[in-house]
Symmetry: C2
Subunit: 569 residues, 2 copies
């Protein structure tokens, strides 16, 4: 039973589900659905797809996630970062030559689902920890900038510019703006901004409860869509002013189909699918953790892979675009009081109703309003200042964050991630390659051995205590050897070298070989090499070799003070 | 002056050079020259080149190394591993299509020299430490196997087989052997084997001095060459028995020329040059260190890059193949008593004499004898058992060594190195990703805090001491967080968590962020997070942030025992 609950977390919370929980979930579900309709359409258009692919992705996938997912607040559905990655994958020459973006997208959903389930099977949830926070932040900021750049022209009814670095060209380009579109866009932006902090502050001052304030504030996107659509319809703005609109959306439930099974583009799309799967998983778990931490709940990464994998397979089956946990939507769902995934089940139900009854109304939604909604949703993900913050704390991480962002902008989305991962690993190797090493002495009357440069310590003339602050391995053994040689040259009266291993968690094969050489050289010079305070796992490993034998008359000491007793006289 | 000595180490030893030194160097120089002639010709042929390219590489390059190098015994010249790498570079379709292997080789020499000098300029000597010992050993063994496979057919006068996996084909192939060639080869192998250990043991028993014994033993290659050549000439074995011989070698000094400057194949050869430079440098320094350690001398890696770079440029100028420090030759030079690089200057002088006066004699050297010499020289480099040895000590390193060897054999020489480097880094990241973590307690009446599972220690009910045996970073923060959560679930009465940072040498940006979350979650649960025994550099970094402020009422303790005093009551 506990095993079943492990794989179907929904059983866990349904057992104790109360009427009170339902009323809160109902409220949150309605609010999230109100946000989900314009977001679903907008992100599909952002990915260069017909709007229904975003709507379909908002029905079956969240239901699957609700069954399998461990996060209670995560809102799974179309997300902006994945949308721009899909756009990038579809624009690759080999894929766009096929001329069937809808089929390619459904294949992407299927591949992402399968990759996630495979990763779950191989227990590879931990592997994604190799995307460090700075790389993820740099990537998100870079992708956000790409999205902003793609949406800004839409606000004025312009196409994507093709001017490159020709400044004069932009003058001509910008004159092609559509006044009616720009007006609608600015009005929408105005409403979205006013319904944000200003309105929330005002309503709170009027004494309204937090959940009511949230609800009113989060209706802004729907309000702009409704008003924008009514304006387009009433004034015939599409035909008379050439305002771009969403266009016909097919009505009714998505047809479940397995057409994509027969396709040939599987291999071509696989690398993109792998990158989207990676980012979708990492972003979703990061968001899920934020809300789980706030309520003291627990996210199980491997189970999340299963849930997100199932959700993406469901997206493929129902002809939807790939899905992930959305940042803004999850925060809205959480703030509106969602207690469990029941909220998302309700939202999915409402989306079904919308797809059956309201699609004729979607045709006249102005694209400029959707662009404004995307822009406002993406701004919190743009964290450029964070680069400076990271740089101040850790140069290597700061550089990785900056280069990931620049990599995304200059070379492409996938290239940016790869560059960031490589730089993170390089920065880590550079750190381990030049470890901190300290000559230490004893703080009088204690067992504390500290850096002679930082503390007032006792030392002994024939005794050199050296603490190596890193595991000893291929990348730093030359550095450590040079340090030792230099230190011994400065203190020629040394008879016993004691390496303090408190910070040494591993000695690899290269390091063992080098330590044997160092010991041999010291013995030829009439000195001894000793080891102190080695940890259990390191001693276990050394005991498998004859190194401790080779050290003699050098010894292994349990404590530094034992070394003093034995060697200082 | 000391700066001049730094860049021209020859000045250093010339100042104290004695008549006694010279007599020892003279002896060693003659012995090494006797070895150098057949090796130079053999390695050129191994690389698929005319024999003179190996001889030219034995004159000017060692002179340049003698000026700049920090090793006193290293014998720089043609080497077997570089030869097989050159053969591999020349056999690439784009290069072999050009049909000018001699020019391509001279360009390789020039590029290798320039790459080494560039690395010296950028102080990149340390970067090569990323080739771990297991990868280097696996690579050397793999390359040795390739060399053996290329030389075995030569012993019987056979061409390289083209049978693939067709076993029947080998039956026919092997029948094409040349009886006279096989006879010469077996005789040569016999002499080389007998002049090795058996003769040395015998002569030592007869009471001869070590240097005389070494000299006699090391004449074996020259002896086989002389006898083999005389046999070919006297019995006209080439014309009558089709025994393959070296053929005409141009007489006289190599012409210094800059023809290669005008060539187009620079770009094509660059990747191979980079790999050869890397391996040539790493192998040379490894060999130089072995002899330097035996005599208490010191090798300066960056100066070695300058010396080897200059030597390779000299090889290019004088039309020779790329050079490096040779393992067997250096050991012979050292064992014959070489005190300084004067020995190599003498050997270079003797080689000049050979090139001017003796080249007509080289034409009839049977290739089978050279193959026998190569085989005997390569055998000590084949260390297959070492893989098992490494595996027993460290699985990750053992796997890297095995895969490097297999990579060299299956995918190619350069691919093998890359595979090995990637596996070493992956194994290292895997280790750091799942660090050893121990719940610790105090060993009564000491300041030692040790694993509660390994030692008999005191603990306190509300106090949880956890020692993390690794720097905290992107790759392990999730693992550490899970460990903490599990441990706290098992000990719900815990009020204070103390993280012992003795082994934590760095906290990267991802880890800092995660620690902030952990602290926040603990505070919400009414617990505190504390830190003890953090090292100076870690504290310096944390003090740049407000993390210590956030910890409150959690504290930072200088010693674990301070934490007990403050928290155990």
């Amino acid at each position: 039973m506990s095993r079943l609950t492990h794989y179907l977390p929904i059983i866990g919370w349904l057992k104790t589900y109360s009427r009170q929980d339902f009323s809160e979930d109902l409220f949150a579900g309605v609010i999230t659905a109100i946000l989900l309709v314009p977001q679903g359409i907008a992100y599909a258009i952002l990915a260069g797809l017909p709007p229904e692919l975003g709507l379909y992705a908002s029905i079956l996938p969240p239901i699957l996630y609700a069954l399998f997912g461990t996060s209670r607040a995560l809102s799974v559905g179309p997300v902006s970062i994945a949308a721009i990655m899909i756009a990038s994958a579809l624009s690759a020459p080999e894929i766009s030559a096929l001329g069937n973006p809808v089929q390619s997208t459904v294949i992407l959903s299927a591949e992402i689902g399968l990759i996630m389930l495979l990763m779950a099977l191989l227990k590879m949830g931990g592997l994604v920890s190799f995307i460090s926070h700075p790389v993820l932040t740099g990537f998100t900021s870079g992708a956000s900038l790409l999205i902003i750049a793609s949406q800004l022209p839409q606000l004025a009814g312009l196409k994507t510019p093709t001017c490159g670095l020709n400044v004069a060209c932009y003058g001509t380009y910008i004159q092609g703006f559509n006044a009616a579109t720009l007006g609608i866009a600015l009005a929408a932006l105005g409403v979205l901004i006013v319904f944000g902090k200003p309105l929330i502050t005002l309503l709170k001052k009027l004494g309204l409860s937090v959940s009511i304030v949230t609800a009113i504030s989060k209706c802004a996107p729907l309000l702009t869509v409704v008003v924008g659509t009514l304006a387009v319809s009433y004034f015939s703005l599409q035909s008379q002013q050439h305002v771009a609109v969403v266009g016909q959306v097919p009505s009714g439930f998505p047809r479940l189909n397995l057409d994509f099974m027969r396709s040939q583009q599987w291999r071509l799309l696989l690398p993109s699918a792998a990158f989207i799967a990676l980012i979708a998983y990492v972003e979703s778990v990061a968001i899920a953790k934020v809300t789980a931490n706030l309520r003291g709940e627990k996210i199980t990464p491997n189970q999340e892979l299963i849930a997100l994998g199932a959700a993406n397979l469901a997206a493929a089956l129902s002809g939807g675009m790939p899905v992930a946990g959305g940042f803004s939507r999850t925060m809205v769902n959480f703030a509106a009081g969602a207690k469990t995934q029941m909220a998302m089940l309700i939202a999915a139900g409402l989306l079904s109703v919308a797809v059956i009854f309201f699609t004729p109304w979607f045709a006249n939604i102005p694209k400029a309003v959707l662009a404004a909604i995307i822009l406002m949703a993406i701004l919190p993900l743009l964290r450029l200042k964070n680069i400076l913050h990271t740089w101040r704390y850790d140069r290597g991480d700061g550089l990785a964050e900056l280069m990931t962002l620049l990599g995304v902008l200059v070379f492409g989305i996938e290239e940016g991630i790869v560059l960031g991962i490589i730089l993170t690993i390089a920065s880590h190797l550079r750190k381990t390659g030049q470890p901190h090493i300290a000559v230490v002495g004893r703080i009088p009357d204690t067992e504390q051995f500290r850096n002679i440069k930082r503390h007032h310590v006792e030392t002994w003339p024939h005794l050199l205590f050296i603490r190596i602050d890193e595991s000893i391995m291929f990348s730093n053994i030359d550095y450590i050897e040079n340090y030792l040689t230099t230190e011994l040259a400065q203190q020629p009266e040394t008879k016993h070298v004691v390496l303090i291993f408190t910070s040494v968690s591993d000695i690899d094969a290269s390091a063992l070989e080098a330590l044997e050489h160092i010991n041999h050289a010291l013995q030829k010079a009439g000195k001894t090499l000793n080891i102190a305070e080695a940890k259990g796992p390191v001693m276990d490993k050394l005991k498998k070799t004859d190194f401790i034998e080779q050290l003699k008359p050098g010894k292994v000491f349990f404590r530094n003070v034992d070394a003093i007793k034995a060697l200082a006289e």
